[in-house]
Symmetry: C2
Subunit: 262 residues, 2 copies
């Protein structure tokens, strides 16, 4: 431990009053000075959305005892941008933690996840970042196992420069602590959502849809996050934001075209 | 050309009445049967957001002569999900085109982009998908160069199985057609947005912020999309949705932990 305590930014996508972020703030406070900048309303599945066509409100609020906290009208990614470039612009953020999300962000769920997008945004700024998710949607979920592994991984992250990769996607299985087998480093499982829009009619006789769906994962290899979670492990996926498909670069080189050869 | 015309889904994030999508629909109609499912309002920078806590409205509209078109209240990704799982659920979509976006989606802009997220969603469903962006924000922009290269790449995509990679991020420089040097296959440039939130006071004396920023790209290698565009080329980045940082898997293997060794 150094003399000055590390500065830890905490955010989430379920909103500043959800149980998951309260657990995370409590654990993070054991390790350093925590500042919370989180959405003032639930922002699940907002992906990497940012607010560019509208204003953003930020209010200093009293939610967690003795912890500087801001409720933000924007998306999870807006919260990180506000923290980095305005609220904490003169300070060095040592670690960004997002969550604990209510529900899995394993596999392709990372793409839709506000929790993971907030963490990714921090990592794009060069800040070490971890998104935590508990594979149980309920606000009454038991966070005992999650708390233990979140505590373990925060301790690790503060003592590691994370030079190889600034972003971790951590999912905790929704089972009792004594049933959790440990931690696995994994790749993101390939999967998809098979959607089934529910169709209904409003009181004015107008049609509307509600997105619903089923997670379908046919990727049964033993090195994925989905497999690790099913087997009772906490999954840790090192992630990045480079979407280039390097394997396809040479395959598609023949598309290259020079205007003077038209 | 086969006897039946290919089915082409067109969407965007600037909204169904933006000039860019009109150009795209006109060009795509030369190649196949076009169905448009696009947001009824501008949805720029919505990333991979989906609507899960609210209803979605879909209205059949008359916007493009002789082209089946739907205006959707949801995000760009919602539009693709609606098309795939409801509106076109009994048909095979041969190609999904998104854009033509007003403004660059090169480099890390892909992460925030509704245009590219819509195309990515289609590719996650196994549909060949291309997002097109013109590096000019103006609704009065000259689309001559964009139209030529969009036409060229749609023709290519319909005649290629795109087995190596189903998703292309295409950016067209905002210069006259005769100045465009050709097409380059690129990787995504590493860059970031240096944000500068504008702070102001509303008529009620309450504070608000507006997100503003500057694109900062220090990645000056000659194989990136930013470099290609600056040099007068159309950039084509083959993309995927696997965010695993494979290079870091072994580096972080030491985090693995077995509960019975606690």
């Amino acid at each position: 431990m150094t003399a000055s305590r590390p500065l830890i930014l905490v955010t989430n996508d379920d909103g500043i009053v959800s149980p998951g972020i309260r657990h995370l703030v409590e654990i993070a406070s054991e390790f350093g000075e925590v500042v919370v900048v989180a959405p003032d309303t639930p922002q699940s599945a907002k992906g990497h959305a940012i607010t560019i066509h509208d204003i953003i409100r930020v209010n200093k609020v009293q939610v967690f005892d003795g912890v500087e906290s801001y409720a933000c009208s924007g998306t999870p990614v807006d919260c990180v941008k506000m923290a980095k470039h305005t609220l904490l612009k003169d300070r060095k953020i040592d670690l960004c933690l997002s969550g604990i999300n209510h529900g899995s962000n394993a596999s392709v769920n990372i793409i839709y996840s506000g929790t993971m997008s907030a963490a990714m945004e921090a990592s794009m700024e060069g800040i070490k970042a971890i998104g935590f998710s508990l594979c149980n949607f309920s606000f009454e979920a038991d966070f005992t196992a999650a708390r233990y592994y979140v505590w373990k991984l925060i301790g690790w992250a503060l003592n590691n420069d994370m030079e190889a990769c600034k972003l971790l996607n951590v999912n905790i299985p929704g089972i009792p602590l004594e049933s959790v087998k440990g931690i696995k480093i994994c790749r993101q499982a390939e999967a998809r959502w098979k959607e089934d829009f529910l169709e209904n009619t409003d009181p004015n006789g107008r049609n509307y849809f509600w997105l619903s769906g089923k997670f379908v994962c046919d990727d049964r290899d033993h090195d994925t996050d989905v497999w690790a979670l099913d087997d009772g492990y906490v999954s840790v996926v090192p992630c990045h934001h480079d979407l280039t498909h390097y394997g396809a670069l040479e395959t598609y080189r023949h598309i290259e075209h020079h205007a003077d050869e038209q």
